[in-house]
Amino acid sequence: METNFTHHQSAHCENGVASNLLKHNGLNISEPMVFGIGSGLFFVYLPFIKINYAPATSYRPMPGQIFGKLAKRLGLKIKRQKFSNIANAIKALDENLKNNIPTGLQVGVYNLTYFPDEYRFHFNAHNLVVYGKTETDYLISDPVMETVTILTHEELNKVRFAKGAFAPRGQMYYPIQIPATVDLKSAIIKGIKNTCRDMLAPIPIIGFRGIKMVARQIRKWPIKHGTQKANHYLAQMVRMQEEIGTGGGGFRFIYAAFLQEASVVLENEKLKELSLEMTAIGDLWRDFAVEASRIYKNRSTQVDVYNTIADQLLNIANKEEEFFKKLKLTIK
């Protein structure tokens, strides 16, 4: 069985799956559009949760939220199923493929055999599309890969039933109803408003305030935990930030691309200017990653290195505060 599915590579898995599935169903929507309307830009600092023995920072909302919000704002219907039983999960997927429905899956990364070993850690919020099945394999379109790939039946079952935080529990999803015309304008405005609300949220661990909080913490890390642990924390932060499209600079560029597209749809020149500004902020995030990597490689010659990058991060937070305040006014 094979459905005639077209694979497009994307920067981030969830946007990519959403965009690819919708394109397959006749709704031509780009990855940045999915990301913007689904309010994919986010920041939260969770010092009380440890991932890989370091405080958690997340640059994205909960898995599934981008597609969920996008569907709501465009009036699409998405069917989502979770399973407690592997046999049922296999049956449901095979049934879909038989009916020519390419299906999105939430999977764990650890057993994705086509990834380089270094990337295979226990992270369960990855997304891919299964578009066919042969006697031995499933045909996979993983949006972060350049081309389509395969997993054996057993391998796919393993990744669908990966365990740990955000265990996918065989989760599969696919659009079941797409309206003939969609109101892109109002969806874009809703998406932007949501992101502004998130990034300007009056909660100390979320949005620009969350970034400021991390900046404050970075100053304390070497004193409180010693340089070794502080370096580990920093390295983890950069990994969360820049690893295969899950983060800081990369996300800012996708958002800037979205604003550029949005400025055409909404006929609003101001959004194009803001897109340029977002690009500049993305570049600042990249500079931050470069400086941080120098520190944990011990190549930095500056004396007061932690304070320097904390200042850098604070500058980013201030720029983002200013940016989202402006953006909020622009779409009023």
Binding site: N52, F121, H232, A235, R239, E243, G250, S275, T279
Partner: protein
């Protein structure tokens, strides 16, 4: 980021000939996509945590040799897990998993329980029991 500035460093992706897609601006400032083979700051961050994982594995191995912990602990580290993840894979409460780290408790474990661990680590019960201290 401008398209010419998209990093093309050798990294963990280039070993498997993988490239990731990034968004960047062209000469006119319009957004387009480009492929990147890798970026050094990322590679360093990743190697940094891989080194740490390897260190943890080496320590666990030493501890098994000295009969301080059971092989379960070593295999947990080998599979980059922590107690919470291992616990959810084997379906055994965390405090019991922790208890199974004690060599004395480990020797008394039934085949049924060992089977759960062995399956998770994709090895046989015999391999789990007879840990090679080479």
């Amino acid at each position: 980021m401008k398209k010419e500035e998209v990093p093309q460093d050798k990294g963990n992706l280039s070993k498997k000939n993988m490239k990731e897609l990034v968004y960047a601006t062209d000469e006119k400032g319009n957004y387009t996509t480009a492929l990147s083979t890798g970026w050094e700051p990322k590679t360093i961050a990743l190697s940094n945590s891989i080194e740490e994982v390897n260190e943890r594995i080496a320590i666990a191995k030493e501890q098994v040799k000295n009969n301080e912990v059971s092989p379960i602990c070593y295999y947990m580290e080998l599979h980059k897990m922590d107690i919470a993840i291992l616990s959810s894979y084997v379906g055994i409460w965390q405090w019991r998993v922790k208890r199974h780290f004690k060599p004395k408790v480990f020797t008394g474990l039934s085949d049924k329980i060992l089977q759960k661990y062995a399956e998770t680590f994709a090895i046989s019960i015999t391999e789990l029991r007879n840990f090679k201290t080479d």
